[in-house]
């Protein structure tokens, strides 16, 4: 995709090596074309967050935190809680990342994650309303890459869902005079739709799932599909400057639908 600067560089000979392996139905780390790297999820090690999860996808590490706070609703949706997703790629994660405000890649990632959570709604935003038109709960999701070894989108998606599944927020009461009183009760966030983000890359004629950094950097383009509840497409994003055929897209959708239950099972079974 030639978007890299100078930190990580894949020599031509390595590019040819990876492509030759793929032509022989093999990958650099001996995985199947539609096999994920080992997924490890760690919870609750950041007690100040209302929900958090750290996901390891091979050597890729992404941490997602959820915070719920009182805020004003949008005028167009006075009886619904708000959702804001932010992602940053800080320099700890890769020699390619520079300090400063989120770049286009981080913004794109945040907007892809956001797309999967909004339609269909991941939580019932009407339940996050306190006083219609005045006060609602805002749901903030912050995603940080800690080590970039390819496929940050899928790792961020898993981390987001894991963080939402474990998130708790403070119950508030409204007094007859309209005052908002925080109670000591903590309510769980109820996840009603379960999106899973699944990314394919196209290298030569091959379509592979969960690329590592080397594969991602030599890929022609990338296709992220969001599968919701097992049989619905909840969003699509093609990125990278290659071209895809319609068959590629259908193949990617088919693979994603097949792999969805496995990833969902990994996330749900990891929650205690």
């Amino acid at each position: 995709m030639s978007e890299f600067k100078y930190g990580v560089f894949i020599p031509k000979i390595k590019q040819k090596f990876i492509l030759n392996l793929l032509n022989n139905k093999k990958r650099v780390d001996n995985r199947d074309f539609i096999e994920y790297r080992k997924i490890k999820i760690k919870y609750g090690h950041i007690p100040n967050a209302d929900g958090c999860a750290e996901v390891q996808l091979g050597n890729t590490i992404v941490i997602a935190g959820v915070k719920l706070d009182l805020t004003n609703p949008y005028p167009s949706e006075p009886d619904r809680g708000t959702l804001i997703v932010n992602a940053e790629f800080p320099p700890v994660a890769s020699p390619d990342f520079e300090p400063g405000p989120p770049d286009e890649n981080a913004i794109e990632l945040a907007r892809i994650i956001d797309r999967g959570l909004r339609k269909p709604e991941v939580v019932d935003f009407k339940k996050l309303c306190i006083v219609p038109g005045k006060k609602v709960y805002g749901l903030w999701i912050d995603i940080y890459a800690l080590n970039h070894d390819g496929n940050l989108i899928d790792a961020a998606g898993i981390a987001t869902m894991a963080a939402l599944l474990t998130a708790k927020y403070t119950k508030v009461d409204v007094s007859p005079t309209g005052e908002i009183i925080r109670t000591n009760e903590r309510l769980p966030l109820e996840v009603i739709n379960f999106p899973v983000y699944i990314t394919h890359v196209k290298i030569g004629e091959h379509l592979i799932i969960d690329p590592n950094l080397e594969e991602e950097m030599i890929a022609d383009c990338k296709l992220t599909t969001i599968i919701s509840n097992g049989n619905l497409i909840g969003g699509i994003q093609k990125s990278g400057s290659g071209a895809l055929s319609i068959e590629d897209i259908n193949q990617a959708l088919e693979n994603s639908l097949k792999i969805y239950p496995r990833i969902k099972e990994i996330i749900t079974s990891s929650v205690k």
């Binding site: 794109e108 339609k119 497409i233 969003g235 699509i236």
Partner: protein
Amino acid sequence: MSQFKRSDGRANDELRPIKAEMHVLKNADGSAYFEMGNTKVIAAVYGPREYYPKQLALPQESMVRVRYHMIPFSVKERKSPALTRREIEISKVIKEAFGGCIKKDLFPRSTIDVYIEVLNADGSTRVASINAVSLALVDAGIFLYDLVAAVSVGKIHDQLIVDLTGDEDQNSEADMPIAMMPSLNKILLLQMDGTLTVEEFNNLMKMGIQAIKKIYEIQKETIRSSLESVLKMYGQT
């Protein structure tokens, strides 16, 4: 089926009236204006030109840079002129769409800069932008594998429709911009927001490709008439 009728009386697979013009700006190396109903977009191309700082230029190919921007009075409520996150994301996907259709290795160490201004927004602005840029690149004489034609398709009240207006986009269950090189049957941009079944997705894709072929013909016709007017100018008709 439901009683849904489109507010402008169009059939579900009907495009809004399209107006296209090339070479509308004299300072740019290439430019074009594209109109789909009330969505009006102007695009300018500069380059291939030298890339600065020089040490960051790519030794084997040219860079493509795109800025998609909506002018403050293009929308109902005034928009801040600063780039929003949405505009940054759209700039990125448009850049990557054209990265796949420009023959970049013809111009090593250079950059091709594309600037898009949305003059009036009424839905489908990113696809109108792509249609405009495609013509502007031709106007600039840049080698393309094929023209890029784009259209948005979507689902509203359980009906599948083509070329969404702003209101339709707001109330839609799903919208999906598609850009492709029609002669090569290759997809350069695909995004989807909302929920669809696989069957609906396949049907939308088919409707989108048909609409794209219509836009492709309009683009070719625009190029032909623009070329004719140039020839006339030099007295070679």
